[in-house]
Symmetry: C2
Subunit: 261 residues, 2 copies
């Protein structure tokens, strides 16, 4: 190869591309796994090579063959996930508070963390009600048009310019695309203590979110309550749910070692 970073293993990365292909497939088409030929198609690798990678991943347990001999994600994934959560204070302490908050409000509660210029959804507690949002854990969304994102952004002026430079792409009719308006709203959110998302990321979904502070008073995560617009009139968000997320977020922040000024 030519330019690539020399401190990266080509072979290992290609192998992980195979893993990704299988993972992506699971998400999209669910049900059945991928055959060797599918992996060859998706990745463009030579079939011997793809074969070897599949064998390797299977041996390690990241992949396994399903009943029909197709490859799908393996048990090692579960093992790694639980090792991850064991070492992840934030998720640990937040989870029980999220359960309580969801129970109290009967709505879906999300925990998101800052990852680059996006929010990464790290945990969710579902609403008991039949109609509820379906954002994927393990997925990502923009900072400027989600409750979680704006809650984080309101405390992280350092990110604001980068976000605006990249551009505010509208995702729904309500997405804020005017930088001035975004800035104004973030200031409002800073004062009030929680952020609103009025169908800016997905139509029919509204959301309130509050930032989480760690022991160094930094914000890299937020908590939100989210639900169908029909159950979420703006005044319920502002008067009822907003204060509730905020209080819960404060509790969690305290557990994380944040000391109120």
């Amino acid at each position: 190869m030519s330019g690539g970073n020399p401190a990266i293993s080509q072979t290992a990365i290609r192998c992980l591309e195979v893993l990704q292909a299988v993972s992506d497939h699971g998400r999209a088409n669910s049900r059945k796994g991928l055959a060797l030929k599918d992996v060859v198609e998706k990745t463009g690798f030579n079939s011997s090579t793809a074969y070897r990678y599949l064998q390797t991943l299977e041996q390690y347990g990241l992949l396994q063959k399903d009943a029909s001999g197709l490859y799908k994600l393996g048990l090692k994934v579960v093992e790694l996930y639980h090792a991850f959560t064991d070492g992840n204070d934030l998720r640990q302490v937040a989870y029980e508070h999220m359960l309580a908050l969801s129970k109290e409000t009967e709505e879906t509660v999300y925990l998101g963390i800052l990852d680059g210029l996006e929010v990464f959804y790290i945990e969710r507690v579902d609403s008991p009600l039949p109609i509820r949002p379906h954002t994927q854990i393990g997925g990502r969304n923009k900072l400027y048009c989600t409750g979680l994102g704006k809650a984080i952004l309101s405390q992280r002026p350092d990110l604001l310019n980068r976000i605006i430079d990249v551009g505010l792409e509208p995702l729904t009719a309500n997405t804020i695309t005017d930088p001035e308006r975004l800035i104004a709203q973030l200031q409002e959110c800073q004062v009030r203590g929680f952020a609103l998302d009025d169908m800016e990321n997905e139509s029919e979904v509204r959301c309130v979110a509050a930032p989480l502070f760690n022991e160094r008073r930094q914000v890299t995560a937020a908590l939100s309550i989210s639900g169908p617009a029909s159950r979420m009139p703006i005044d319920r968000l502002v008067d009822d749910l907003g204060p509730k997320v905020q209080v819960t977020a404060q509790h969690i922040s305290k557990m994380l070692g944040y000391i109120d000024a």
Copy 2:
């Protein structure tokens, strides 16, 4: 290298060994991550090599650096886990039943699947009570001395000889090490429909478990209720909890497409 399977990528496997080292460390010592030198120590790789692997895993998102620059598991792990659960009917279907069962009994409910000659713990719903078992999700246990294992084994005579050949190592004073007794108990379990674990895997923990049947009438998974011996006298297990796990297991089996004879 000399003998190794030629259909396995050495490089990729070595890279995954580094991932494992970081993962293992997280479990054992929690808190902080691993430095390059630690990885070098643990794996014995040359530092340039280990460095390249760490870079590779970090770039892919399986690892990330924590605040102090040490490596820990990254967000890709969460992404993969949720792709895994999306494509995993069993866990999906079982989970809500597990929630209900845990709520009703106020005890911890486990879901385990057969993996080789062990049970792999795939999901858990914790008891609300303060004293509760702590078996790790993503971990493994023996078939012959756990409720889950015996529930599976009672329906899988094909595995029995292999288990006995390997040997019944005692893990507690109560572990059954006599093959005859084990066989007798499995038959009893087959008749009654659920298996008991009377502190055979861990002292102070008792458990009842029932097998889960899939659409092809095979058993590769089981459901259990488990708790401290103090709250779990044998007659509660037999008269109350046992029938409850069994009924729940039957519901789940039905959802999985199992048709009762």
